[in-house]
């Protein structure tokens, strides 16, 4: 994203925000609130990833996702590169169909708790699970979009 002052482009890439000495925390927070970035740049309000959960996890492409932690069959932590501003974000999680359990697969956020105690949906990561009626399984295409 280019930012212009008096018609002159002064920033070509929002990621360069950190290099501007005159940007104070208030300004940066305003930019964050405005949602500049979106894919991992300054003030990012989204995170998305397309990854293969079968075999050794591999990330095909992502925006604002730093890593995936494989914590068990069909269970993955998606770790954001930069924390979102609030824990109340929306999450879309879709997987490909899987022939042997095609009729009853589910993809869900694991361990979400609105009350006191552990929650696995935080501003820095989210735990997702893919399950059939009988057991968890690894899907080859996991598509996740977190939006604030």
């Amino acid at each position: 994203m280019a930012i212009k002052v008096n018609g002159t482009t002064v920033i070509d890439d929002s990621r360069a925000l950190s290099n501007i000495a005159s940007v104070d925390a208030t300004t940066a927070a305003s930019i964050t609130a405005a949602g500049v970035g979106g894919g991992g740049g300054a003030g990012s309000t989204t995170a998305w990833v397309n990854f293969n959960g079968r075999g050794t996890v591999s990330i095909r492409n992502d925006g604002n996702v730093g890593s995936i932690t494989d914590v068990g069959t069909g269970r993955f932590n998606v770790n954001f590169s930069t924390s979102l501003a609030s824990a109340n974000y929306s999450l879309n999680y879709t997987i490909n169909s899987y022939s042997s359990v095609n009729a009853s697969v589910g993809s869900q956020v694991e361990g979400y708790s609105g009350a006191a105690g552990a929650t696995l949906m935080t501003t820095s990561a989210v735990r997702v699970t893919t399950a059939s009626a009988s057991a968890n399984f690894d899907a080859s295409h996991n598509l996740i979009l977190a939006t604030l």
């Binding site: 991992g40 591999s58 824990a87």
Partner: protein, 112 residues
């Protein structure tokens, strides 16, 4: 448990675009406190601390191994890597060295 980095993130780490790890820890601490106190439903980060992810001075380029160590400290719970146990709790290896078959992987034991 296997942690796999994003190529995009790794490129940013090598290019020196990351803030000090303490920036993330401060955010994690605030959120954990909110969870412990039962107010996570309405939790929002302090704007100044949140903005530090972009405004804090960059730490400079990292090697691949340094980047992975940084990522572990950022994305793996601190009690796993900050406490000295009587056996190794994790090991940094190339992705191709990780058994792709989960049954073999679960049988892994890290040798001292």
């Amino acid at each position: 448990m296997v942690l796999v980095p994003s190529d995009n993130w790794l490129e940013e780490a090598k290019a020196g675009l990351l803030p000090p790890i303490s920036v993330y820890w401060a955010l994690q601490d605030d959120e954990q406190q909110a969870i412990a106190e039962g107010r996570h439903d309405t939790f929002k980060h302090d704007p100044e601390k949140h903005a530090a992810q972009w405004t804090a001075p960059r730490i400079g380029p990292l090697t691949e191994e340094e980047a992975i160590e940084y990522l572990i400290m950022k994305d793996i719970p601190r009690h796993i890597w900050s406490v000295e146990y009587n056996r190794p709790m994790f090991k940094i290896v190339k992705t191709e060295d990780v058994p792709s078959d989960r049954q073999f992987r679960n049988a892994w034991r890290l040798a001292a």
